[in-house]
């Protein structure tokens, strides 16, 4: 018997001489991890329940709407109307997922592990924001794709097909607006506390508390006030932009009057403001 046969080889510590990738890869690692976290992937079964319940609801709704549209072409259920229908579900999704993405890191003290690596503080916030926005956009966009496929395959001719293409495009863009605004607000609120329950409550509160303002404004005697009312709550704000850009099913754009561009500007301003505050927040967190 050879001597080597009886020896257990401890290969010991191996140095790593392979590539070390740069900023883009590090960012995408954070982004992909965030996106997986949003849907509970790589985590416990309990963490998967809520996201996949929401996924189930949006796809069920999308499928039903697709069926309705196939039966009754003039029912008025457009792609953008689907997004509006899902508004409150998305609020709850953001309220649950945003704290999972950022409050958990604050609470568990993981940030020092991130910031002692070649990950920039700004990239941390951007990656989390991009992950949440993508998750919301997928929730609102993927069922639209289902609706589109059903409509496209049941289209009688090419012109009907192109009409559908012309409708789903704005629908997906509208979904992206929602995603950017909701993710921005949700993540900013969640980044303020390490307690997930507080963060979730705070996010829902932002959306709930602002709704009465819209209600009061819209019954004021001034028509200008009424037309500006929708500016004051995140969900009605995007709704206003959608109304201006794509119109509603019944062609009604009276409720925002001539202020369409203002609605879009405010939406962009709010998103930019959230991003700026989020960055300021992480500059503070990282140096503490």
């Amino acid at each position: 018997m050879s001597e080597a046969a009886g020896v257990i080889h401890d290969i010991g510590y191996q140095r790593y001489s392979g590539p070390r990738l740069g900023r883009g890869y590090v960012f995408s690692s954070m982004y992909v991890h965030g996106l997986r976290t949003a849907f509970g992937l790589g985590r416990s079964a309990k963490a998967k329940i809520f996201p996949w319940f929401v996924v189930g609801v949006v796809f069920l709704t999308g499928t039903i709407l697709a069926a309705v549209r196939a039966q009754i072409p003039d029912a008025g259920v457009t792609y953008t109307a689907f997004v509006d229908m899902m508004a409150w579900l998305v609020v709850f999704f953001v309220a649950v997922v945003a704290p999972e993405l950022v409050s958990r890191d604050l609470r568990a003290g993981v940030l020092p592990l991130y910031f002692s690596r070649p990950l920039r503080r700004t990239d941390y916030a951007y990656a989390k924001l991009a992950a949440l926005a993508t998750a919301v956009w997928l929730l609102l966009g993927a069922p639209q794709v289902v609706m589109f496929l059903v409509a496209a395959f049941s289209a009688d001719n090419m012109s009907q097909f192109w009409t559908e293409v012309g409708d789903v495009g704005p629908g997906l863009f509208y979904a992206a607006l929602w995603a950017a605004l909701f993710a921005g607000i949700g993540l900013l609120v969640a980044s303020l506390t390490g307690k997930r329950a507080f963060a979730a409550g705070g996010i829902v509160a932002v959306f709930l508390m602002t709704t009465p303002i819209v209600g009061v404004m819209s019954v004021m005697p001034s028509q200008t006030m009424n037309e500006l009312a929708l500016l004051f709550s995140p969900s009605s704000l995007v709704f206003g932009v959608g109304m201006w850009l794509f119109g509603t099913a019944d062609g009604d754009t009276d409720s925002i009057g001539p202020f369409g561009p203002l609605y879009l500007a405010v939406t962009i301003g709010v998103v930019a403001g959230c991003v700026a505050l989020l960055q300021a927040r992480y500059r503070k967190v990282a140096s503490s």
Partner: protein, 288 residues
């Protein structure tokens, strides 16, 4: 507030102990080394890089184990360490392989697919060490690595750190407020207090001067001190004792004859084996 001032120290590869009481400035020093804080004045070089300029390059080659709890409880150790490996720039496959390796080296191979939330304190400390090792750093910064461990856990952690410093070819800086621990594994020690350097030296250089003779006489202590000075034996007052460095066996005889010549009543003459801790403590006193 100044956490660190007039601290000039350079350390050689190997295991370096950074000791000081809580609040001495150890964590601030680590943050500066990682480029997370910029020093208000002065110069830092880590692995021949300047962390204030090249923070990402420094952090890619440094592993950091923070003092406080810093793990995501809802992830498995394998998932968590892999993710952090990717954030350090390791490609996907390499990150997974090295995460398994790092967890094997810290003794968590079997448990690596369990959620971290269910781990004991000792296991969590090991995960923290594994995440600092995953990207094969050239320098490890360990902040209170034995925090919260029982005596057996402490011994195991110290043995592991010793192995990393001596067999893995990685330089290690161990921060601790417990001198007794670090002096067992370190090649050199840096002691700071109130942000100032107390002493920085090789541990062997320190232990050679730690043997002193304690002389107690009931009167004439100043006389004796003066006489010993004449004989080339520098002594130091410590309460009612005179402490004299023990150079060789002849030191005993020279002290005894000095006492006999002065005709002083000798109470006690014995050898004290100073721990490094006492060495630092006495130096501190002499500076005040």
């Amino acid at each position: 507030m100044t956490a660190l001032s007039d601290l000039t120290v350079s350390v050689q590869p190997g295991i370096v102990g950074l000791v000081g009481a809580n609040g001495a400035g150890k964590s601030t020093l680590i943050k500066i080394l990682l480029g997370l804080l910029a020093p208000t004045s002065g110069r830092v070089r880590v692995l021949d890089l300047d962390p204030t300029v090249d923070a990402a390059a420094v952090r890619a080659r440094v592993g950091y184990m923070p003092e406080h709890e810093s793990l995501s409880p809802d992830l498995s150790a394998a998932e968590f360490v892999t993710h952090l490996g990717r954030v350090s720039g390791l490609p996907r496959t390499a990150a997974r392989e090295r995460a398994s390796e790092a967890l094997r080296h810290v003794g968590l191979y079997e448990e690596r697919y369990r959620q971290i939330g269910g781990y004991s304190t000792g296991m969590k400390q090991r995960v923290k060490l594994a995440q600092a090792l995953v990207h094969d750093p050239d320098l490890l910064l360990l902040d209170e690595p034995t925090n919260g461990l029982d005596p057996a856990g402490r011994d195991a952690m110290l043995a592991l750190i010793h192995r990393i410093g001596n067999e893995f070819g990685i330089s290690v800086v161990v921060c601790s407020h417990l001198l007794g621990e670090v002096e067992r594994i370190c090649d050199s020690l840096v002691a700071i207090d109130g942000g100032r350097l107390l002493r920085s030296d090789n541990i062997s250089a320190m232990t050679t001067v730690t043997d002193v003779l304690a002389v107690e006489v009931s009167e004439g202590i100043d006389q004796l001190a003066a006489r010993l000075d004449l004989l080339g034996l520098p002594s130091r007052r410590d309460g009612r004792l005179l402490l004299v460095p023990l150079e060789d066996d002849a030191t005993y005889d020279r002290i005894l004859s000095a006492v006999a010549e002065l005709d002083l009543p000798l109470h006690r003459l014995d050898q004290r084996r100073h721990r490094v801790a006492e060495l630092f403590a006495t130096r501190e006193v002499t500076h005040v």
